[in-house]
């Protein structure tokens, strides 16, 4: 095959059985690879109502057909499973060097089922696949685990995806890390891996990847490499912190403010100026390399790690009221090596801080920590307590804000910044960037930016909607069109294995993606048909949620966004691509419903409960899914 390896690796940890099966042609023609094929495998391999932390929940790892070729920025690995945080669909993807290594070992996907009795490592060495004892690794952090495994296996070129103590302890927002610092972070992939007693997956691949049309591919690649030069990634995503802070759209103090005094100190440019930045870290095949490797030489927060990204600097910086470089770098390092999602960690701690300041949590609940906004030392301690589930506080926060606020009560759901799905909101206050309100609410995983990364310039908004957008916020029908456009592109990007930071060179450029796909695989496809696959993947994910109990009420936003207007003024407001302040400074349920109605109509979903209609699924080539849903009365 060209592009694909053409094989799936099946691992049953309960029976310690390993098998290799061909990647079905029908599967790739309908879903391409990566996120798409993963979604269908999850559908087929699990029963409705599966407990996310039970042996029956499959953990599926996927790569795309472009990974391992000369198409740059194609190092993404997608992990798909049922989320222990939300009880719904979960795809989370990571950069790093795992996907490339897996392809060279000869596998497009890994399916992990069952549960091992004892801690184990899955060791994939080309054709030789083994389940190794990992008792000596249990309790070790991601960096130590990586170090020991490379030594044990005697090869420094092995790539490792591992969990830290957080995953072992099944923290609801534990991540899977690869290349030490690249996170598959959101909604608890690490907890699922921990529930299976799977400490790590180590891979070494020495095989080859062939492409159908090398000449055509070379010319496309030269073009992309040239265009990528203009992508502004000098200081990674954390350069946005300074800009958002100035515009007052940087979520701060648990989303009660849009800026923080001294916020420049948690931005990428400052890391460079103050001498913390040592070099750039690139994921597999990424000639940009947007990650920053920072070092704190001495003092109580001495350490080293890749990051922080924008999301981390918001979550463990402005949102907890801590604009301190060294504390942020330490917090980032700890989350990386303990295997925690920085977004959920920060948003959860910020919820605890607000609860503490309101007197809803006392020192008795915080194990003596003076958990006020701005207390960096307390935050560092809280991160460790979460990862190891230490004390009352660690155990409470390890469940995430939805469960924690339910347990604590006293109206604390009002400042729990998650939506009804139960995932902590990422670093956008949709009241100050309202074109994202719709997408944050309908996202299958929960309120974040990683199903539709929306940044339309006025020109692009016109191209998508067909009209000049003259009023902001845009009318609901325009919001809906823009959201769908990005959602479809995002799904294709994730299925091919491309990174979103390729921007207009690949991610938002269906023509380029279809040409690359054809040159690599030999499958001719038009940009329109490629996007149709994107819509198919997006709808399949929606169907999975329907199967697991989804109804329209879950498509909402955090209570605070829907009921409290912002109390500050946003600077340079109402300019595409951002910021666009919501009407009245609040994402009112009425306005949200209007936008969602338009989006549902555009998708062909029912307005009463948000379920895809039969004719929609048939049109998208998802008849089999429709039949399955019909059997359980959900169509």
């Amino acid at each position: 095959m060209y592009g694909w390896c053409g094989r799936i690796l099946y691992v049953d940890l309960s029976r310690r059985k390993i098998s290799k099966k061909p990647l079905p042609k029908d599967l790739i023609s309908r879903f391409i690879g990566g996120r798409g094929v993963n979604a269908k495998l999850l559908w087929d391999l699990s029963k409705p109502g599966t407990d996310p932390l039970s042996p029956e929940n499959p953990l599926i790892v996927g790569t795309g057909p472009l990974t391992g070729t000369i198409v740059p920025l194609t190092g993404r690995t997608t992990v798909t499973t049922k989320s222990p945080a939300t009880g719904l669909y979960l795809k989370s993807s990571m950069g790093g060097h795992f996907a490339g290594e897996l392809k060279f070992a000869g596998y497009d996907h890994i399916i992990i089922l069952g549960k091992s009795e004892k801690p184990v490592t899955l060791w994939i060495n080309d054709e030789n696949v083994e389940i190794l004892d990992a008792s000596h690794l249990w309790g070790k952090d991601v960096r130590e685990t990586t170090r020991i495994l490379k030594k044990d296996l005697g090869d420094r070129d092995i790539r490792i995806a591992a969990i830290g103590p957080a995953g072992e302890n099944m923290v609801k927002f534990a991540s899977i890390m690869n290349s030490i610092y690249n996170a598959c972070a959101r909604a608890g992939t690490g907890a699922v891996m921990g529930s299976k007693n799977l400490k790590a997956i180590a891979v070494r691949g020495t095989g080859s990847i062939k492409v159908k049309n090398p000449d055509k591919l070379w010319s496309l690649v030269f073009e992309i490499a040239e265009k990528l030069k203009s992508r502004p990634f000098t200081y990674g995503t954390s350069h946005l912190i300074a800009e958002f802070n100035e515009k007052h759209i940087l979520p701060s103090y648990n989303f009660t403010k849009g800026s923080i005094e001294g916020g420049y100190k948690i931005s990428g440019k400052y890391f460079a100026e103050a001498g913390y930045l040592r070099r750039k870290h690139g994921c597999f095949s990424c000639i940009i390399g947007c990650h920053l490797y920072n070092v704190v030489e001495k003092g109580p927060y001495a350490g080293y790690a890749v990051g922080p990204e924008y999301e981390t600097a918001f979550a463990l910086g402005s949102n907890t009221g801590i604009a301190d470089t060294e504390i942020l770098l330490k917090a980032n390092e700890l989350c990386n090596i303990y295997g925690l999602d920085t977004i959920s960690t920060g948003v959860t701690i910020a919820w605890a801080m607000e609860s503490y300041e309101r007197g809803v949590l006392t020192k008795e609940d915080t194990n003596g920590l003076d958990l006020k906004f701005g207390n960096g030392e307390a935050m560092i301690k809280a991160i460790r307590m979460i990862a190891f589930r230490e004390g009352k506080l660690g155990n409470l926060l390890a469940e995430g804000v939805k469960r924690a606020s339910k347990k604590v009560g006293k109206d604390s759901y009002k400042w729990a910044i998650c939506n009804s799905k139960g995932l902590e909101n990422s670093g956008v206050d949709t009241r100050t960037w309202s074109s994202r309100a719709l997408t944050y609410s309908v996202n299958s995983r929960g309120p974040d930016h990683l199903f539709h990364e929306i940044w339309p310039t006025p020109e692009l908004a016109k191209e998508i909607t067909g009209v000049e957008i003259t009023t902001l916020p845009p009318p609901p029908w325009a919001d809906a069109k823009i959201a769908k456009w990005y959602g479809d592109h995002f799904a294709v990007t994730d299925a091919l294995g491309i990174c979103k930071f390729s921007g207009e060179t690949m991610y938002t450029n269906a023509k380029a993606m279809s040409e690359l796909y054809s040159a690599v695989t030999g499958v001719e496809i038009s940009p329109e048909d490629l996007l149709l696959i994107g819509t198919r993947i997006y709808n399949l994910e929606r169907c999975y949620n329907v199967r697991e109990g989804f109804t329209r009420e879950l498509d909402d936003l955090p209570w605070r966004f829907m009921h409290e207007s912002i109390s500050w003024k946003v600077k340079s407001a109402n300019t595409l691509p951002y910021p666009i302040v919501a009407k009245g400074g609040v994402n009112s349920p009425e306005d949200l419903k209007k936008a969602q109605d338009e989006f549902y109509k555009l998708q062909g979903w029912r307005l009463d409960n948000g379920w895809p209609r039969r004719e929609t699924l048939v049109k998208l080539g998802l008849e089999d899914i429709a039949e399955d849903l019909e059997k359980i009365g959900k169509l």
Partner: protein, 163 residues
Amino acid sequence: MKKVLIVDYEKCNGCTYCMLVCSMKHEDYVQRSKSRIKVYKYEEEALGLPMLCEQCDEPPCVEACPSNAISKDPKLGIVSVNQDACNGCGVCVNVCPYYGVRIDPETGKALICDLCGGDPLCAKLCTIREAIMWVEATPSTLERKRKLAEARINELKRILEVS
């Protein structure tokens, strides 16, 4: 004017893209063991060290090859391996001070950077980071090349020790 490759590891982000490009260029498919360049990675410190032939003035590999299979073109500076003559003994791998030679595991023959015949694609496609540059050979660039190669080899020895 003659040109030389300069590799600045401080700019390298360890993405290994050059290895993919190198094998694709020479084999029409991607297989890293066929690449003439190898990036040694030390993930803890996000370090990448691209190691390849430095086109020495008096290449020790040429000198040491018992089969006289390696030669250097004085005009372009390209070191090349006569595939028919090479017996895969690996002496060149051992004498190269820059970790710039590898044995192809399939053919058993030595792999040495051929500068893509005078237009090295690794440099051409590392245009954003500029960790690999293809520059005119002037006294100052040659001096820079020497210094960077020395720094890189020292760093490699350090990471081979710690990892």
